[in-house]
């Protein structure tokens, strides 16, 4: 370590400060006199949050419908297709329309076969790939971990989406996922991620919700600020 750090003195100050307890606060209107919340049975957990957050239906079909609604609102282009082959047809049409020259992908059981059906030069990222090479690609085709109905989000990780850059550097991000990857809400997605990865967490996990956007100029929405301008999701059975 280049410099000695100051954790001992900071921790000492924290412990000293916490000797005086802070009052709990009831966050209703301030005239109500608060009663201290009861923490004997622990903090409220994500099972409890579910009762307060936006409602999600229980059946898969309801969840897919909600995911589709959220996608439409967020400008995620969602295609429910009957098979990977159908996804490939859509993709090739897209490639022709936009005039892609080159696509990037990664070794993934759904993404790689899809990319291979696009008759264009292809970068399959692996250790030591060149960033400039990836930057020259028109689209990135990746997998993901989960789809979140509640928010229309995708949870990706460096394991499921070909590292950190693939899903954010090229201007068009294509994701292929199966309906079995649908989860109702963020809490479930995080819980499932824990079950999948807790032995060895990837260094990177990200909830992606729609294409990159900004409202920094007069709070007017513009898509494609720095990340992808378009996000397309193929949902296969």
């Amino acid at each position: 370590m280049p410099l000695a750090d100051h954790r001992q003195e900071v921790f000492a100050r924290i412990r000293e400060a916490l000797k005086v307890p802070a009052p709990h606060r009831h966050v209703g209107h301030t005239g109500e006199h608060p009663t201290a919340p009861n923490h004997d049975d622990g903090l409220p957990g994500s099972e409890t949050f579910r009762a307060w957050l936006p409602l999600v239906g229980e059946s898969l079909e309801e969840q897919i419908t909600l995911f589709a609604q959220n996608s439409a609102a967020l400008k995620t282009e969602l295609h429910r297709v009957g098979s990977p082959a159908e996804a490939a047809e859509h993709l090739n049409q897209l490639a022709r329309e936009v005039g892609w020259h080159r696509v990037a992908t990664h070794p993934h059981p759904l993404a790689l076969p899809l990319a291979e059906k696009v008759p264009l030069p292809r970068l399959v990222v692996g250790p030591g790939y060149a960033v400039t090479d990836m930057e020259s690609c028109d689209a990135a085709i990746t997998g993901c971990d989960f789809l979140v109905a509640q928010t229309g989000s995708l949870l990706i990780s460096s394991a499921s989406a070909g590292g950190r850059a693939l899903s954010v550097l090229p201007p068009h991000h294509i994701v292929i996922a199966s309906a079995s990857q649908m989860v109702p809400d963020l809490g479930t997605a995080l819980h499932q991620a824990r079950l999948r990865y807790a032995r060895e967490w990837p260094s990177f996990l990200s909830f992606i919700t729609g294409p990159s956007r900004t409202g920094d100029i007069e709070r007017i929405l513009v898509l494609g600020a720095h990340g992808p301008k378009r996000l397309t999701v193929f949902l296969v059975p």
Partner: protein, 472 residues
């Protein structure tokens, strides 16, 4: 008067008189309000979600030593270099040293209010590095050599015309009044910076103690690019940003987005648990996390205001604050504007120099109502006023309030002064609005009511004298 207070009043007078500014901010925030209310309405219970968020932050802050230790241990186990800084200077020096040891020339930075707080860019530039702000709003204010106007929307005080002129001057671009074209200009400028930068700097919205990860919330993708491509990632966060459990994000990510930006959830919410791990194909070789105290342990020691450390920097309190909407973000002269800034700046920079911000409030409480983690903001302003006055009362106020006590504890004196007032008050008409008017601070812009010919007390005495059955 303290120079900072004088400057605040000067800026506030300028902005409150600027009706174009008022209209611009009102318009910008109106669209936010509509979206915020739409998404809040989707919650089955925003109120209970708020209560839970407040309790979770209470737990984290009131056991900060335990959670911080867990957080640091988990991060270090996976190769993150954690540096705990007691002061802003220590944090700056460490980051400069990391840059120098790695011969860093170009730095790509995503938005971080903590970096603003320690004025990091200045130190890095002084050490010979070039720092590119990549968040669009931050980039715009960096080009203007300005401070962020708002802790979430740094350039909300500018129109598209202002930005077009700025880009024309600084980047040689063609004038345009399309926000989309302006965004694309910034995008193309920034692209090569991501690829060429040696080091990426980010803030952190949350630290997850249980798993040793930081969480970064953004919309543009600039933080993701800046933490993916350069070979070094330095993140800086205040020690108070912790959450106990990973699943807490299921509550905090949507609440942060809804309260702060009027979104259901922001576009990217990313967790970073270390540098590139074995088997991963990209990501930085080094990941440094700077944990900043910088007076936070002092307000941790103030149990009454400890909940101000619950803040998740969403900006909701600014967006609803009628003071902020009228004086604008630059009048404050602080890193953190609006109600939360008025509460915490006296702790960060000294009470006596910054107490004026706690007085510059009508105590309407809109901030407290909007805060998603239930910080008792407007009552803290009252406490700051008390603390400031106890430390150093204003020389001319002390006798006024002594007189106030003397009169108000003596009903006969209070009543007598009312009677005398009625005799002398008509004289006010003679000086109304002039320099001689003792009520000038009011009457310069507003009419003052007349005293009533008969006070309520006098009415009551008369009514009682007439007996209970007398006509009204």
């Amino acid at each position: 008067m303290i120079a900072f207070a004088r400057e605040f009043k000067r800026m506030a007078a300028r902005y409150t008189a600027d009706l174009q500014h008022r209209a611009l901010i009102q318009r910008a925030l109106r669209s936010y309000e509509v979206k915020r209310d739409e998404f809040k309405a989707r919650y089955q219970s925003w109120g209970e979600a708020r209560q839970a968020a407040s309790e979770i932050k209470w737990e984290a802050i009131n056991h900060l030593d335990r959670y911080l230790e867990e957080f640091i241990t988990k991060l270090e186990a996976r190769g993150t270099k954690v540096f705990v800084a007691s002061t802003d200077a220590q944090a700056r020096d460490y980051i400069v040293k990391v840059a120098q040891e790695n011969k860093v020339k170009r730095i790509i930075k995503s938005k971080s209010m903590t970096a603003e707080e320690i004025e990091l860019n200045h130190a890095l530039e002084h050490a010979g590095c070039t720092v590119f702000e990549s968040d669009l709003g931050e980039y715009i204010v960096q080009l203007r050599h300005e401070k962020p106007y708002h802790l979430v929307f740094p350039a909300m005080h500018l129109t598209r015309e202002d930005i077009s002129r700025l880009f024309e001057k600084e980047l040689g671009s063609q004038p345009t009044n399309s926000p989309e074209e302006l965004t694309m200009i910034a995008r193309s400028v920034m692209r090569k910076n991501y690829i060429e930068a040696d080091l990426g700097i980010s803030g952190a919205n949350f630290g997850i103690a249980e798993t040793g990860m930081i969480s970064i919330t953004e919309n543009e993708g600039n933080a993701r690019l800046g933490t993916s491509l350069p070979k070094i990632h330095v993140a800086i966060m205040g020690i108070e940003k912790l959450l106990p459990r990973l699943e807490d994000l299921a509550l905090f990510l949507p609440m942060l987005a809804t309260a702060g930006a009027g979104q259901q959830i922001t576009c990217y919410n990313t967790l970073y648990g270390g540098p590139r791990q074995p088997g991963e194909i990209d990501g930085p070789e080094q990941f440094h996390l700077v944990l900043l105290d910088n007076h936070r342990t002092e307000f941790l020691a103030d149990a009454e205001q400890r909940d101000s450390l619950h803040c998740i920097r969403c900006g909701a309190c600014l967006n609803v604050c009628p003071i902020f909407k009228n004086v604008g973000g630059h009048s404050y002269g602080t890193t953190y504007q609006g109600p939360i800034g008025s509460v915490i700046t006296p702790h960060l920079r000294g009470l006596q120099n910054w107490k004026h911000l706690s007085f510059a409030s009508s105590l309407c409480g809109a901030c407290t109502e909007a805060c998603p983690v239930g910080i008792d903001l407007h009552h803290h302003l009252l406490q700051n006023r008390r603390n400031a006055t106890q430390g150093k009362a204003t020389w001319w106020e002390k006798p006024i309030y002594a007189g106030f006590v003397f009169f108000m504890r003596r009903p006969w004196l209070y009543q007598l002064s009312g009677k005398l007032g009625k005799i002398f008050f008509p004289l006010h008409k003679l000086v109304n609005g002039t320099l001689l008017d003792p009520l000038r601070l009011w009457t310069k812009t507003r009419d003052f009511p007349d005293m009533a010919p008969q006070s309520f007390q006098e009415y009551w005495k008369e009514k009682k004298a007439k007996g209970p059955h007398a006509p009204r």
